[in-house]
């Protein structure tokens, strides 16, 4: 099983490296370090969000509200920045993180305490959070000239050759790796997803684990909210509209099973990077960016077909034996 999992990520990596190499035949500068760093920078936010979503999906849940959470948290810190320009940026990042966690915990409580299916809960909160952006901003935009320079500068700042934004993603990958492989909480995410009943028997509170997963995805969305708004220097209602599905796409391409319990940090990161490479490669090879959506759709379908071939076996065999017995 472990070998298979490794194989899947290996193949994904091979596809990404192959794609980069093919593009570089057309445009040699594509494979050079500045260009690759640029792709990583562009994909940083998606990587962070995909990791948060992975934790939720592992527990047999789904968080459709991440992009709305991102946009709302981003708007909150943008307004805070306009109202109190003196507030130091780390405080704003903290506020974004806490606010995002709060929004995530609302999802979590509804799933945990009321047992409402996560897809319904987050479908509801997705529309509520989007609506709240309009309400708190009074329908107006927060534009670049209203934000302080320090607010906009942080994600772009250079630290050891790469941007602070990239560092956020790298630190997130490190933290998630430790969380998922080295802590009992990380293992309980897997246990909850693979077999909730068994997880309950070994003393894992399945509902609470899901709640924590939603808090994690909320935390990530909140931080990503600040980074997104600061990077693009504009906050409005439709920031990251439809991005929730891109996040899920990154997870699926990375081999995270929508049925829960299967998925790795490396997979989610590679899934996000794959989408990032595609987005950055299209203009280089002179394909209209309008192809981007169809290509990621196709990639999702191929990834699911590929994943299913690995995951399927057990259930099918049981059914076949039962059929023979009958």
């Amino acid at each position: 099983m472990k070998a298979l999992l490794k194989q899947r990520e290996f193949w994904l990596l091979a596809v990404i490296v192959g794609a980069v190499w093919l593009v570089s035949l057309r445009s040699p500068s594509f494979i050079q370090l500045p260009s690759l760093a640029n792709i990583f920078n562009d994909t940083s936010i998606l990587i962070m969000l995909a990791l948060g979503q992975m934790v939720v999906i592992l527990t047999r849940s789904i968080d459709l509200s991440m992009a709305a959470n991102l946009a709302l948290s981003g708007m909150v810190v943008a307004l805070l920045n306009v109202a109190l320009p003196g507030l130091p940026i780390p405080v704003l990042v903290l506020v974004a993180a806490l606010f995002g966690t709060l929004l995530g915990s609302i999802n979590g409580v509804l799933v945990w305490k009321l047992n409402i299916p996560p897809i319904v809960v987050t479908l509801g909160t997705l529309t509520i959070y989007r609506g709240l952006i309009f309400v708190i901003a009074g329908g107006s935009w927060v534009n670049a000239h209203q934000m302080t320079d320090a607010f906009k500068a942080l994600p772009r700042a250079d630290l050891g050759g790469i941007t602070v934004l990239s560092w956020f993603a790298i630190v997130a990958v490190g933290l998630f790796y430790v969380l998922m492989t080295r802590t009992s909480l990380g293992r309980s995410f897997y246990a909850t997803g693979i077999n909730p009943t068994a997880a309950t028997y070994v003393g894992i509170d399945v509902g609470r684990t899901r709640f924590i997963a939603f808090c994690v995805s909320g935390l990530v969305s909140g931080v990503a909210g600040y980074l997104w708004i600061a990077r693009y220097a504009v906050a409005y209602v439709d920031v990251a509209g439809g991005f929730e599905l891109t996040i899920i796409a990154a997870c699926v391409i990375g081999g995270v099973s929508i049925a829960g319990g299967i998925g790795t940090v490396a997979g989610a990161v590679l899934g996000a990077l794959f989408l990032g490479v595609v987005n950055n490669a299209l203009p280089v090879v002179n394909i209209s960016p309008f192809w981007q959506m169809a290509i990621s759709g196709l990639a999702i379908l191929l990834a699911v077909i590929f994943n299913a071939r690995i995951e399927r076996k057990r259930g099918r065999i049981i059914l076949k034996q039962a059929e023979h017995a009958a």
Binding site: I62, L123, T125, T127, G131, I133, I248, I258, I305
Partner: protein, 341 residues
């Protein structure tokens, strides 16, 4: 329903069509709750705005939801069977794009309708094939085809727009059958009656419930689970194609961003209508009522100049509250029972 008559006489002849009365009472009360909400919103609207209680106003408000509600009818069946289709809005985009493309080559109105509905059917069949033949989870498949279908629209259209539909094509989205009854509304009511019959009065409908409650048991009982699910995906695609014809006809133009975000509204409608998102339970009446509630609310808030995005707060809250309330009530009742016992 009639398959019971062939069973040996030793078996009690009368096997109820529905489960015991508590469930039925609950379903009934759910629809009653929806009806009460609808009436409350209706009354509130007529107090809030002097322009509301007017046959033409009421007729206009149905345009808010008929297209989405048509898809919701088929989506309800699909969700009851335990699957879901997130690609419906993208199917609309693709159908509309193909119709626009055909219109550029001078295809007439009947041809355009056939292309729109046919494209929808094919898209649904594609989803159904991937889910039932390849055994993939429908939520992921349709997230993929959601990108794929709309992506093809973007490839064909880019940032352009298709216009120049024949004049007679405008009837479907703008025409009236009789007085204030629009073609869209008439079609929706007819479709609702048809789906009610299909789900609640035919063995096909019973099979959908059986599959949604326990698809393994349904398979062992000899139901062709895969085939039925495939048909439901085709049906959802077909309804999306019909919705695409109506919407394109109403707008008179096609852009790739057409009907963006509708999938979530359609699903909200279905869930609000009392269909269990996990499959196995639900009814058409609830979905129809939910469609009217959402239409009434959107229109009423629109009359009060509440922006559309703020309405989404109401929709989202309504969705969660309507799901949460019965759960809370049940829990309270259980607690009281426990205390009495």
């Amino acid at each position: 329903m009639n398959e019971h008559t062939s069973i040996d006489a030793a078996v009690p002849r009368h096997i109820p069509d529905r489960l015991g009365s508590p469930l039925r009472a609950r379903l009934l009360s759910w629809e009653m709750l929806l009806l009460a909400v609808a009436v409350a919103i209706f009354v509130a609207n007529s107090f809030a705005s002097p322009y509301f209680l007017n046959a033409w106003s009421l007729s206009d408000l149905t345009f808010n939801f008929t297209e989405k509600a048509l898809i919701a009818l088929a989506m309800a069946l699909l969700i009851i069977s335990g699957e879901i289709d997130l690609s419906v809005a993208s199917i609309i985009a693709l159908c509309s794009t193909f119709m626009g493309l055909a219109a550029q080559y001078g295809v007439g109105t009947p041809g355009l309708v056939a292309i729109g509905i046919g494209t929808g059917l094919l898209c649904g069949a594609f989803n159904g094939f991937l889910v039932t033949r390849l055994g993939l989870p429908s939520i992921v498949v349709t997230i993929g085809t959601m990108s794929l279908f709309r992506g093809v629209s973007y490839i064909i259209l880019g940032d352009g727009v298709f216009k120049g539909y024949p004049a007679s094509f405008g009837y479907f989205g703008q025409g009236y059958v009789f007085w204030v009854i629009s073609f869209e509304l008439a079609l929706f009511l007819a479709a609702a009656a048809l789906y009610y019959f299909l789900l609640h009065r035919t063995s096909f409908g019973r099979r959908i419930f059986a599959i949604g409650n326990n698809h393994v048991a349904a398979q062992f009982s000899g139901l062709r689970v895969g085939r039925i699910k495939f048909m439901l995906f085709c049906l959802t695609g077909l309804m999306s194609g019909i919705a695409a014809v109506l919407l394109t006809s109403r707008l008179g133009s096609t852009r790739p961003a057409i009907a963006q975000g509708w999938e979530l509204e359609v699903i909200t409608m279905v869930v609000l209508g009392g269909v269990n998102i996990l499959g196995g339970a639900g009814g058409i009446l609830g979905v129809v009522l939910a469609a009217f509630i959402m239409g009434l609310m959107t229109f009423g808030l629109g009359l009060l100049n509440v922006p559309g995005i703020v309405m989404s707060i109401f929709t989202g809250t309504l969705l969660i509250v309507v799901i949460a309330l019965p759960i809370l009530f049940r829990r309270l009742r259980n607690r009281r029972h426990a205390r009495l016992a």
